[in-house]
Symmetry: C2
Subunit: 125 residues, 2 copies
């Protein structure tokens, strides 16, 4: 897995619609969903959904299989997890355990989030 592949994965998850689609399909598991089901679940015009599905298939995060006149989409979870492996490669100069530890047990992530972003004009520092 090279940089270009990883970049495609992130690009393909960097849209609210595509993130919703991927999550829906992760939850659907092996049975996946056909395009029309996705469109009605998420209330997205089919023409726009097609655009986003294409992006997700190109990155490899989704697979498609034809079923008569339906197209069945499924999530590719291993690719997702492998993307993290790429990011944590050669981790932590001299303290590789900083990554290793974390790969096993995923902690309470909220503690690592930054404070809420101050939006336009309001004086919070």
């Amino acid at each position: 897995m090279d940089k270009a592949a990883v970049l495609q994965v992130f690009e393909s998850l960097s849209s609210g619609i595509r993130l919703d689609v991927f999550r829906l399909l992760v939850q659907a598991g092996r049975s996946g969903r056909v395009a029309g089901e996705i469109a009605s679940s998420l209330d997205i015009p089919s023409t726009n959904l097609s655009f986003h599905l294409k992006t997700l298939v190109q990155s490899g995060l989704l697979t498609v299989e034809q079923e008569g006149r339906f197209q069945r989409y499924r999530a590719n979870i291993p690719l997702m997890l492998g993307t993290i492996a790429f990011l944590t490669e050669n981790c932590c100069a001299g303290h590789p355990e900083d990554c290793a530890e974390l790969r096993g047990a995923i902690p309470d992530v909220d503690a690592f989030l930054p404070p809420l972003e101050c939006s336009k004009g309001d004086s919070c520092s």
Copy 2:
């Protein structure tokens, strides 16, 4: 960690420059790097780098700390890993082991990548 936060993480890694910056800092570990070091390592104009660093800090993937006139950036690895936790929530309708298994041991991911994308006009099917 909610959808908006996860989306920001993916948006902030969906640029080649930002992906390079994050990887550089993952490898740097606890010592991080100051902005100027990042700029010269990756050969990016400082004004453009600033733009990308801001994006990464806002998503939480990087932290900044002032050091005299320098700004020291560090990668936030737990946030990265937590993002995956979010994606694999409620996984795999009836077969949760599909995710659970994979969370522990990360497989040969290349096997899950799609065939090379055919670019404009060339007849490969």
